[in-house]
């Protein structure tokens, strides 16, 4: 089992866990994030633990014009891409300041969708490839507490769904991941219910399993499928009065 995995947004906890999980199965790893020089300690750790080739690449999800050049600069076309880019932003600030809201929409929807769209083209031409988009349960229904982020993730989820539909008859696969709560830098200090909260390594394991088993859409902890089914099923006249 080998190949190469490209990790977009490689600094996040989920991304790091995914890099280790794929490296453990012998995958070479391309780590991509802003300020790639800082990724070198992570790269070295991956090399020492798993004896695989690891490279670091500068990647800015807001620089859509640079995407094609970024892909051309990679040592090879990866076999798997995992997009772990994202930024929750601050809902209150997003409400007041359109520039801040635009930043959240671009970082969670526009950038991830466009880079994966470009990769899908290249995967299709190569006749292989697995696209993993880390979206969010926040995209399943817009809530007052984070609907700008949620709207961007809803867009990303819809994009992945359409891409999967388009590519379904070919060899390229698309996996949508909605992790629910995860104990990461993004959620540090939030009072999360431990039964609903996955560890980054659990997310990585679920992604690898979904890849191996050919799954399409996964929630990491099974309970989230139920929680979100209930939230989606609430009639709007009730839902609009909830505080979730």
């Amino acid at each position: 089992m080998s190949g190469a995995v490209l990790i977009l947004g490689a600094r996040s906890d989920i991304a790091r866990a995914c890099a280790h999980r794929y490296a453990r199965d012998g995958f070479g790893v391309m780590l991509a994030a802003r300020g790639a020089a800082d990724l070198e300690p992570d790269a070295q750790d991956l090399r020492l633990r798993h004896r695989v080739a690891v490279s670091c690449h500068d990647f800015d999800v807001l620089d859509t014009a640079g995407f094609a050049g970024f892909l051309d600069s990679l040592p090879a076309l990866p076999d798997v891409v995992i997009c772990a880019v994202g930024a929750m932003g601050d809902q209150a600030q997003s409400q007041r300041d359109p520039a801040a809201a635009a930043q959240v929409l671009r970082a969670n929807f526009e950038g991830p969708a466009l880079i994966l769209g470009l990769l899908a083209e290249r995967f299709e031409a190569a006749g292989r490839g697995v696209i993993v988009g880390i979206s969010s349960v926040a995209g399943d229904r817009g809530r007052a507490s984070n609907y700008v982020y949620g709207a961007a993730k809803a867009g990303f989820t819809a994009f992945l769904s359409g891409l999967r539909n388009r590519l379904a008859r070919g060899p390229v696969r698309v996996i949508t991941v909605k992790p629910g709560f995860v104990a990461t830098r993004m959620t540090e200090g939030l009072p999360l219910n431990p039964r609903l909260t996955a560890q980054p390594a659990e997310v990585a394991e679920a992604i690898r399993a979904a890849d191996l088993r050919g799954r399409d859409v996964i929630y990491v902890r099974r309970i989230w499928r139920l929680v979100m089914a209930i939230i989606r099923a609430l009639p709007e006249f009730l839902f609009k009065k909830t505080r979730l």
Partner: protein, 436 residues
């Protein structure tokens, strides 16, 4: 937030932070005294306090030299991770305690020992250098011979925060151990077995602390050597470097009464009988040999909600037989039952604060209850009377007075801490209790 060690006793209210980089750690240090915490496998309150700092985000491996076996890694890397990465390349930790779920920083701070202490020394013997963040946030590099190195090895995190270290691994041909089991029907026989097996690389004994009279101290002494490729047969030959076991976990706290003197007595009799039947040699894989308890996740829950404590002392060679006999006698008179009891011969140790000394160490687990808590001061006294001392990584309840009597080295350490400003920056619940 409630903090506790592996024994889940005592539970201490305190702040818990988890910095992600050196700058964040430095900022925390400026806020007041703290204690670094790794995997939380010290039994008592060594890594608990008003402000415990979880170091597990510092978990990167930095460099490995395949000629010398030297690994450089951050303090949060565990021995289990080191084995997972390097056993497939033919390397194994030179010294390992009874669990692989310890961090590198914790192993250094407690200067842990393993089954090869009598032949190869403690963990610190194989540490080439350490980087420590001091009270002012500055990072110092220290190596054997330096003051800071001496205070950090076995210093329970009280000389600063261990950030990185270089350790030497051992070359192994396989992940198997050639084990020899010697049943010893009583304490004298067990001590004889240790005395005649000084040349074995590994030696340890499981000891039955409930057996009385002529069987008092009956033990299974287990010797071990790393197996070479030529030693392997059958299953082991097809898998010379076996991966770790993945076992079940204890899903909830067992009721406190499960481990009582009767169940322990029954278990011990059965265990001894089964062990005696297996007397002689055999091949055991590394995970079963070094880490039998790791096979059951969260095994500390078998003691119930109240938790348990471990008593570990060392009695010097001059007085060991009488000392051990008196301790075992006191335990069996008290009616308290120790479920897990381990006896081991130590070699000589030359370091500033480390626990081992030439003699015999006895480690005993007791569920938290009135009877065992009443027994502890009695065992402290017997140990002190025989010139022994205690292992702080296991301690959760000793008095400052007992420590002062048995181990004057810590008084020098406490004085040095006051003079250099360390005591204002690094403190644990244990250091406060023991007046360090």
């Amino acid at each position: 937030m409630k903090q506790s060690g592996w024994g889940r006793y005592p539970r201490i209210e305190g702040r818990l932070s988890a910095p992600r980089d050196q700058a964040a750690l430095e900022a925390l240090l400026a806020e007041g005294p703290l204690i670094a915490r790794g995997m939380g496998r010290a039994y008592g309150d060594s890594a608990c306090g008003a402000h415990a700092v979880d170091m597990r985000h510092f978990n990167r491996m930095i460099a490995f030299d395949a000629d010398t076996g030297q690994l450089v890694a951050e303090a949060g890397v565990t021995l289990g991770e080191i084995i997972e990465a390097f056993l497939p390349q033919g390397w194994f930790p030179a010294v390992t305690p009874g669990t692989k779920f310890v961090s590198l920083g914790g192993a250094i701070a407690a200067d842990v020992h393993g089954k090869n202490h009598h032949s190869e020394g403690s963990f610190g013997t194989f540490v080439d250098w350490i980087e420590v963040m001091g009270p002012d946030g500055r990072v110092s590099h220290c190596q054997p011979g330096d003051d800071l190195f001496g205070w950090t090895l076995g210093g329970m995190g009280l000389s600063g925060v261990i950030l990185r270290a270089a350790i030497r691994l051992r070359r192994v041909e396989t992940g198997w151990i050639r084990q020899t089991m010697i049943p010893a029907p009583n304490l004298d026989a067990a001590l004889d077995a240790f005395a005649t097996s000084q040349s074995a690389t590994y030696s340890v004994a499981w000891i039955d602390c409930v057996a009385k009279g002529a069987s008092m101290g009956r033990s299974l002494v287990m010797l071990g050597e790393h197996a070479g490729l030529a030693d392997l047969r059958g299953r082991s030959a097809s898998q010379p470097l076996p991966p770790r076991h993945r076992g079940p976990s204890v899903p909830f706290d067992l009721p406190g009464f499960v481990l009582n003197p009767w169940t322990v007595r029954g278990f011990n009799a059965l265990y001894y009988w089964l062990g005696a039947r297996k007397a002689g040699g055999g091949l055991v894989d590394w995970d079963a040999y070094f880490y039998p308890l790791d096979a059951v996740g969260d095994w500390n829950r078998i003691y119930g909600r109240k938790g348990f404590l471990q008593f570990q002392c060392v009695v010097p060679l001059e007085s060991h037989a009488e000392g051990l006999r008196t301790i075992l006698g006191a335990i069996s008179d008290s009616g308290a039952a120790s479920f897990l009891a381990v006896l081991k011969r130590f070699g000589a140790q030359d370091s500033r604060l480390s626990f081992p000394m030439e003699g015999y160490t006895l480690a005993l687990d007791f569920p938290i209850n009135r009877r065992s808590l009443a027994l502890m001061p009695q065992l402290d006294r017997i140990t002190a009377d025989h010139g022994g001392r205690f292992y702080l990584a296991k301690d959760s309840r000793m008095s400052a007075e007992t420590l002062r009597q048995t181990d004057p080295r810590w008084q020098d350490f406490a004085r040095m801490r006051r003079e250099t400003g360390l005591s204002a920056r690094f403190a644990s619940a244990q250091s406060e209790r023991l007046g360090l």
